[in-house]
C-alpha cells in the first residue's frame, strides 16, 4: 500500500491521460448539443492536452517535477483551443502551481491541494461559470478527493475519485436543460473524465503506448515555416526614410505598389516624419535609390535570405518584428474568419491578420499569439467571431506584455463585422471596446446549416439532414428547403428584435443565382429594410444572416 506517486509516475500518468483522450476524441465530439456538423470539443481538448504532452515528452526522463509542471502548464496554456480547452489549461495550470513546490513524492494530500487550486483557477477563467459542465465535473473530482488523506491508499483514492467523477458527469443533463433535451452528457466533462481514465489505467499497470507524435499527427497542425526553397527573392531588406519631402497617402500607396512590383512581403508604416519600409527583393539598390527621393535613409538592414537560410532559418519571420516599436502604428486588427469572401471582407475593413478558423476549427491561444506578434501596432483588437474562441483570445491577451490587446467578444462573423465598422482609430481601446460591444448588441445573427443527427431542441423535432436556422439563443426554424427555412428564420429575427438592415452572406455551397433569388424575395417581403448580399464563401453554413 502506498499513499504517494513519484515524479516519473506523475509524468507518465499525464501522458497516458492525454493519449486516452486522443483515442476517445471522436466520441467526445459527438456529444455536441447542437446537431451541427462541427462538434469539436474532443478535438479542441485533445489539441490542448497534446500540446502540453509534447512539451512534457520532450523533457529528459529524469526531469525534475518543477520542469514537468512548467511544461504541462505552459504547453496547455499556449495550445488551448475552444472554451473547454481553455478551461482544461486552467485546470492544469492551477494544479501545477501546487505540485511544482512539492519536494519528494507526491502524496494524496498534495493532490487534493492541487485539485483545489485547479478548480479555483478554472472557475476564475469563466465570466459566468455554468454548472453541468467540465467545471462541475472538476469540482466533483476535488470534493471526492478531499475526503481522503495520507492514510489512504493511492489506488483506492484514484478509483473512488473516478467513480464519483463519472456520477457527476452522468448528472450533468439534470443541471443543464440543453443537455437533457439533446440527450447527451456534457462534452467537456466527458473529455476531462477520459483524461482521468487514462491516468487510472496507467496507474493500474495497463499496457499503454506513451509515445507522443508531432503536431501534424493530432490533426490540424499550424502552418510549417517556409523551407529555403520557398524563398522567391534573395534579399530581405528594411530601412527607414527620414521624410523631408511630402509623403501623403497617395505617394505611400504608389510606393507600396512599386515595392510590390519589386518583390514580395512589402510593407510601409508611416509615423510622424518617418516611413519604415520592408520588402523582399532581388534588387535592393533600386529600392534604396527610389527611397532617397523622399528623404534621408536610416536603419538600413539587408539580409541575404539564401545564405542566411542555413544559419538562421527564423530570419524571415523576424522581418515584421524588425520594425522598431516606436514605429508601430496605433491600431491593428486580428479577425478569425473562414471563407474567401468573409476573409476578403475583413481585409477590406482593415484587418491586418486573418486567422483561418471558426466553428469547425478553433485557433489556439498560440495561433492568436503568433498573429499578435506579426502586427506592429500599439493596440490590437482581436475579433474571435465565435463564442468558442473568445476564451483562447483572452488567454492570448493575458500572455501578451508589449502591446495592448483588446478582445472584442464577438460571437458571430456578422457581429465581428459590425464591431470592426464601429471601431474609431482615434478613440482609446477602452472606449472602442465599449462602443464596439454596444454596436454588436444591436445585431442579431442567424446561421443556416444542416443537422447531422436526429434530436429535439428548443421544442423543435429535428431529423438528420434537416435544414436548421440557428439564432443567437437557439433554433429558430427547421425545414427541408434551404430558402424557406432561411426566410422563416429571418421572419422570427424580424419579429424578435427587428432592424433596418438585413445582411446576407452566402456560403460556398450556395450558388450566386440561389442567393440572388433569396435576396429578391427578402427585398419584396421587407421593402422597408436595406438589404446587403455578400459572397461569404464560408463552409458548412449555407447562409449567415444579420439583422441590425
Amino acid at each position: 500500500m502506498s499513499n504517494a506517486i513519484d515524479t516519473k509516475m506523475l509524468r507518465d500518468m499525464f501522458l497516458a491521460g492525454a493519449k486516452n483522450l486522443e483515442a476517445k476524441k471522436e466520441y467526445v465530439n459527438e456529444l455536441n448539443v447542437f446537431p451541427v456538423p462541427d462538434g469539436d470539443t474532443g478535438t479542441n481538448m485533445t489539441l490542448t492536452v497534446m500540446s502540453a504532452a509534447r512539451e512534457v515528452a520532450a523533457l529528459p526522463e529524469d526531469a525534475p517535477l518543477k520542469e514537468i509542471c512548467k511544461a504541462m502548464s505552459s504547453g496547455s496554456l499556449r495550445g488551448a483551443r475552444g472554451n473547454s480547452g481553455v478551461i482544461l489549461s486552467q485546470l492544469f495550470r492551477g494544479m501545477c502551481r501546487i505540485l511544482k513546490n512539492v519536494e519528494g513524492d507526491i502524496t494524496i494530500e498534495d493532490l487534493v491541494e492541487s485539485f483545489d487550486k485547479a478548480v479555483e483557477s478554472a472557475y476564475k477563467a469563466v465570466m459566468k461559470p455554468t454548472e453541468g459542465t467540465i467545471l462541475t465535473v472538476s469540482k466533483g473530482v476535488y470534493e471526492k478527493a478531499r475526503e481522503y488523506d495520507n492514510n489512504a491508499d493511492m489506488g483506492e483514492f484514484i478509483d473512488a475519485v473516478l467513480v464519483h467523477a463519472q456520477e457527476v458527469l452522468d448528472q450533468t443533463p439534470e443541471m443543464l436543460p440543453v443537455l437533457k433535451q439533446a440527450g447527451v452528457v456534457d462534452s467537456g466533462g466527458a473529455g476531462l473524465l477520459e483524461i482521468l481514465k487514462g491516468c487510472q489505467k496507467y496507474f493500474r499497470g495497463e499496457e499503454m503506448d506513451l509515445t507522443i507524435g508531432d503536431e501534424s499527427e493530432s490533426g490540424e497542425g499550424s502552418e510549417k515555416p517556409k523551407a529555403k526553397s520557398d524563398i522567391k527573392f534573395t534579399y530581405d531588406m528594411a530601412y527607414t526614410i527620414l521624410l523631408t519631402k511630402n509623403f501623403n497617402i497617395k505617394q505611400e500607396q504608389d510606393f507600396l505598389k512599386y515595392l510590390e512590383s519589386m518583390g514580395d512581403h512589402a510593407s510601409i508604416q508611416v509615423v510622424d516624419n518617418k516611413a519604415a519600409m520592408t520588402v523582399h527583393t532581388d534588387d535592393p539598390g533600386l529600392v534604396l535609390q527610389r527611397a532617397l527621393n523622399f528623404g534621408d535613409l536610416t536603419d538600413i538592414a539587408i539580409v541575404n535570405q539564401r545564405t542566411n537560410a542555413e544559419e538562421a532559418p527564423k530570419e524571415e519571420k523576424e522581418s515584421a518584428k524588425a520594425v522598431d516599436p516606436s514605429m508601430w502604428k496605433q491600431t491593428g486588427f486580428i479577425a478569425i474568419s473562414v471563407g474567401d469572401g468573409l476573409t476578403g471582407l475583413f481585409k477590406d475593413l482593415g484587418a491586418d491578420e486573418i486567422i483561418s478558423g471558426g466553428q469547425t476549427m478553433n485557433p489556439s491561444t498560440d495561433d492568436i499569439l503568433h498573429a499578435i506578434e506579426k502586427i506592429g501596432a500599439k493596440t490590437i483588437y482581436v475579433l474571435p467571431n465565435n463564442k468558442n474562441i473568445i476564451m483562447a483570445a483572452n488567454q492570448a491577451r493575458d500572455l501578451t506584455k508589449d502591446k495592448e490587446i483588446i478582445v472584442v467578444p464577438s460571437k458571430t462573423i456578422p457581429q465581428g463585422i459590425t464591431a470592426m465598422i464601429n471601431c474609431m482609430p482615434e478613440s482609446s481601446g477602452e472606449e472602442n471596446l465599449a462602443s464596439m460591444t454596444e454596436a454588436m448588441g444591436l445585431v442579431s445573427t442567424g446561421q443556416v446549416t444542416y443537422a447531422v443527427r436526429d434530436t429535439e431542441l428548443d421544442g423543435k423535432v429535428i431529423h438528420e439532414n434537416d435544414i436548421m436556422g440557428i439564432g443567437d439563443k437557439g433554433i429558430l426554424a427547421v425545414g427541408k428547403s434551404i430558402e424557406d427555412t432561411t426566410i422563416e428564420m429571418i421572419d422570427v429575427m424580424m419579429q424578435e428584435k427587428g432592424g433596418e438592415l438585413i445582411s446576407v452572406y452566402y456560403g460556398e455551397d450556395v450558388t450566386e443565382a440561389d442567393a440572388n433569388a433569396l435576396s429578391d424575395k427578402l427585398r419584396a417581403k421587407y421593402s422597408e429594410c436595406d438589404l446587403e448580399l455578400v459572397a461569404g464563401g464560408q463552409p458548412i453554413y449555407y447562409y449567415l444572416i444579420s439583422v441590425e
Binding site: 497617402i249 475593413l349 465598422i421 464601429n422 474609431m424 482615434e426 433596418e500 438592415l501 436595406d530 446587403e532
Partner: protein, 294 residues
Amino acid sequence: MSKIAIMTDSNSGISRQEAKERGIHLVPMPFTIDEVNYLEGVNLNQDQFFEFLEKKAVVQTSQPSPADVIDLYKRLLNTHDEVLYIPMSSGLSGSCQTAHMLASEEPFENKVFVVDNQRISVTQRQSVLDALELAERGMSASEIRDILIKDKFNCSIYIMMDTLYYLKRGGRITPAAAAVGTILKIKPVLQIQGEKLDAYAKARTREQGKKIMLEALKKDIETRFGGLDAHTNERVQLHLAYTRDLAAEQELGDEMMEAFPGLDRPEIFPLSLSIACHTGPGALGVGVSQKLKV
C-alpha cells in the same frame, strides 16, 4: 467709430444675392473642371457642378488668386477704415494663410484682419453674421477677430455621406476615407471641428447615420454648450446643410426638431462646393454653434 467691411469666401454658403443684401463682400472660390476655370456662385452653381460630377469630370479646387484678394482689399479700403476677412478653415485650404500673408504687408497691415477661426460652411456663415452684428455694435475689426477666434472651437458639423466614391477619388481627405472599406455599403459620418476633418462614425444605413448625427449634437450640447435646459436656445444655434437631396434634408430637419424641441429650426443651406466635391450628392449635414453672448 470706424467703418468695417466684412469679407468672406463662398465656402460660407452665402450667396451673391444674400451678400449684396447684407452688405457682405464675397470672394468666389475658383474651380477648374475639365481644364476650364469657374468661380463658385458666379458662373458655377450647384446644379451645374453636380452635372459635372456625375459625368465624372475632373474637378480641381484651388484658392482664390492672390491678385483678386489684393484687389478686393484695396477696393474695400477705399470706402472703409478696416477690413475683416473670414476665409474657410486653414485646416482645409491654404487660402487663409495666403490671405493672412497678404494682409500683413503694406499697405494693409493693421487695416486688414484675417480671422483664422477654422470654420467652413454653416458655421463659417454664422461667424460672418456674428461679425456683422459686432461691427454694428461698434467694435473694431481686431476686437471682432479676437472674439471670433476665442469662439472658434464652439461649433461642430457632422456630415453623412451617401457614397464614398468622391472622397476616395479626390484622394484628399484620406484619413477619413482610409478607415472605411468598399465591399459593404458603409455611410461614414464625418465631423468637422476646428481644423480637423475626421471620420466620426460609420453607419450601415441612412436612418442609422441620422441617429448618430443627432446623438452627436446632443452630446455636444450636453458636454460643450451648457446642457439642454430652458435656456439652451439662448446659447445654441443649430444648422442644416446638404447636397442635392433637399427633401431628405428637410426630413432630417423634422427629426432634429423632434430631438430638440424648444430650439429654433435652422434654415437649410447647400454645402459649399469645395466640400460637395468630396461628399458627392446625397450628403446630409447637421451642425451646432454657440450663439454670441449678448
